[in-house]
Symmetry: C2
Subunit: 237 residues, 2 copies
């Protein structure tokens, strides 16, 4: 299985996908790939706009995307995809649309069969067993919270260490601790902005300058860098 799971599309002050497109290019390889793009996390802008924005960056990297919303036969488009790219936005909307279309099992099957999967933000949540560690507002109710389960642990994208000053709401770490209490035995990787996970079969590595913060019930949180072994997270828990 080949996965590139990014915390976010855009770092503060940078251009769209700027920090990720180089890694996406390397991940897809030298031969041009036209990936299938899933735009359904977009809510406040159109799928056409989303495709255009992502296509621009992919072309800069020598690749291309075509959005699934153009396909007459969506299942065929997924079956024939050279690579699958899932953009960020609202995870609840993304999951609800894919469940309604009945495409979740097929996407899972294709990626498990070796089709490269690239996701950022909501697209990384979708690769997890469930969407229970999303930061997004539950604006729409999906059939259930089960996601693709391409990895056996949970990612919390846009992981954030502290609240804005003067704000007393739960910190991200407090929210993750609540998740772990109800879901003990699961690992949660707090993936800071600007970082991503690359999976090549049983190997996984962190890309980016910031460490990831790993949580598990009863375990002291651990900071893991690009130099640390991460393959153990891919073992069934």
């Amino acid at each position: 299985m080949r996965l590139l799971l990014m915390s976010n599309s855009t770092n503060a002050g940078e251009e769209y996908l700027a920090h990720g497109i180089g890694e996406i290019g390397k991940f897809l390889g030298e031969k041009k790939v036209t990936a299938l793009f899933l735009p359904y996390a977009a809510v406040t802008f159109s799928w056409d706009e989303y495709e255009k924005k992502v296509r621009k960056k992919f072309r800069e990297a020598g690749h291309d995307v075509v959005s699934l919303h153009h396909a007459g036969d969506e299942a065929a488009a997924v079956r024939e995809a050279e690579a699958i790219v899932v953009g960020g936005g609202n995870t609840w909307h993304l999951l609800t649309v894919l469940q309604k279309k009945g495409l979740m099992p097929l996407i899972r099957e294709r990626v498990r069969a070796g089709v490269p999967y690239i996701g950022w933000s909501a697209g990384s949540n979708l690769a997890c067993p469930t969407i229970k560690t999303t930061n997004d507002m539950p604006i729409i109710q999906p059939q259930d919270f089960n996601a693709l389960g391409l990895i056996p642990f949970q990612i919390n994208p846009h992981y954030l260490d502290a609240n804005p000053e003067g704000h007393a709401g739960e910190t991200r770490e407090m929210r993750i601790r609540e998740f772990l209490k109800i879901n003990p035995g699961m690992y949660v990787a707090g993936l800071r902005e600007g970082t991503m996970l690359r999976v090549e079969d049983e190997k996984m590595s962190l890309i980016g300058e910031k460490p990831l913060r790993l949580f598990r019930e009863g375990m002291k949180p651990v900071e893991l860098t690009a130099a640390d072994p991460l393959d153990f997270l891919l073992l069934t828990q």
Copy 2:
């Protein structure tokens, strides 16, 4: 109907419930009330601890609480409650427990019949038509997203104007805009920390120094202060 819906329990740098307990005292009146406390939003600390913490503050205000988790007959405890108090924590956990216990219709009925309702954070989300504007992590899957519907609009508690510096994830306003796109016609009140809404039948007022930020699809967001009329939000939309 009598409701006191607070954004949060604790302002940054203050003691637990410090900013709210005076208003809670006024809302409950001069005669001592022993309110029924619903502690089920607590996940990482015990219901006993939660009751103790809330009781301490209520006693300072001349009132008291008894937590529902002690009741042998829970439905009877709700039916006989002088007031209902719903504490903050994780909204998903709160809703899931109350749905499993089958208590949602009875709580709704009692509050509609005039039993005073006090909520903060998750307790304010619970008073809305749905929990679709919660900030909490969906650590557990409820039967559905429907809440008590004591008010016809949505509250976003802990409303926050900006992200921490250097963080590029969605702002709260962007998240609310996504909700409105999928749920047009609804109002969302962004309730900043330190503020609360008090409902007395068809009257509603904002308490606190900060304005609330009101959102609706197609409408420019409006800042409303304690001096502005808010009763229109109680009309069926």
